[in-house]
Symmetry: C2
């Protein structure tokens, strides 16, 4: 077992995970803040030069998991690792956001899809090895909207 300690918290317009849009442009447009706790602020040095960052965070409202889940936006049961479902063996969320600006320990970002007060566990710069082209989306391409 490995222990994760929160290094910050998300400030979002979406109060609960049910409020987060599951598809469409809104998810790329929502503006919010990633507050990194003061004790970790020095770790943000040099982050300002990156246009995008990756935020790893906790689905803190998650209670347990199933290996087959019904995605929030689509009909049908899918393997949990083929979805972004919040209830997963390790409830870690991954969001790529645009970095608008930094004010000391607070990052103002665009593309928030977390619920308010989600704990943040890591920030990484978005780098070329995360960019892929010609992607195929499996079941999502043919699934029926819920």
């Amino acid at each position: 077992m490995y222990q994760l300690r929160p290094i910050g918290i998300v400030h979002s317009l979406f109060k609960r995970r049910e409020d987060v849009p599951t598809r469409g442009p809104i998810q790329y447009e929502a503006i919010g803040e990633i507050e990194i706790f003061k004790e970790y602020e020095d770790g943000l040095k040099d982050i300002d030069g990156f246009s995008h960052i990756v935020v790893l965070w906790i689905f803190h409202q998650s209670k347990g998991y199933e290996l087959l889940v019904e995605p929030l936006a689509y009909k049908g049961l899918r393997g949990v690792f083929a979805t972004g479902h919040p209830d997963r063996p390790n409830p870690i969320g991954l969001t790529v956001v645009k970095l608008i600006c930094r004010d000391k320990n607070v990052l103002r970002v665009k593309g928030i899809d977390m619920a308010d007060r989600s704990p943040v566990v890591d920030i990484k710069p978005y780098v070329y090895s995360y960019v892929r082209k010609d992607i195929r989306l499996g079941w999502i391409e043919t699934a029926e909207r819920r």
Copy 2:
């Protein structure tokens, strides 16, 4: 604090983290396997249709962290969250790989940059919201190679 339980393990040609190429095409070409433990195999249903997946894993050789670190490939001290350095407050690694094929609980993938036997904690499908264009890479664009 949150607990992470390993759901699988990486099989890689790179025995230690020092053996992993820090830059260049090799990091996109290395083939390896992500073995998901049998008890989680059902969670892989439907994964086959995705061209790429995101692997979250643990830098298991990491011992503690500093907020300012010298990147493995470049000179100079940087904020740890502006780098992919293994020694970070929560030593989670993030790798995007191409999914070649699946054999039951084993995913054969291209783009391995983990050390052998790194614990895997999550698999996610690589989706459009992870694709960004017009990215800026901050200090990396001007830094001197070590």
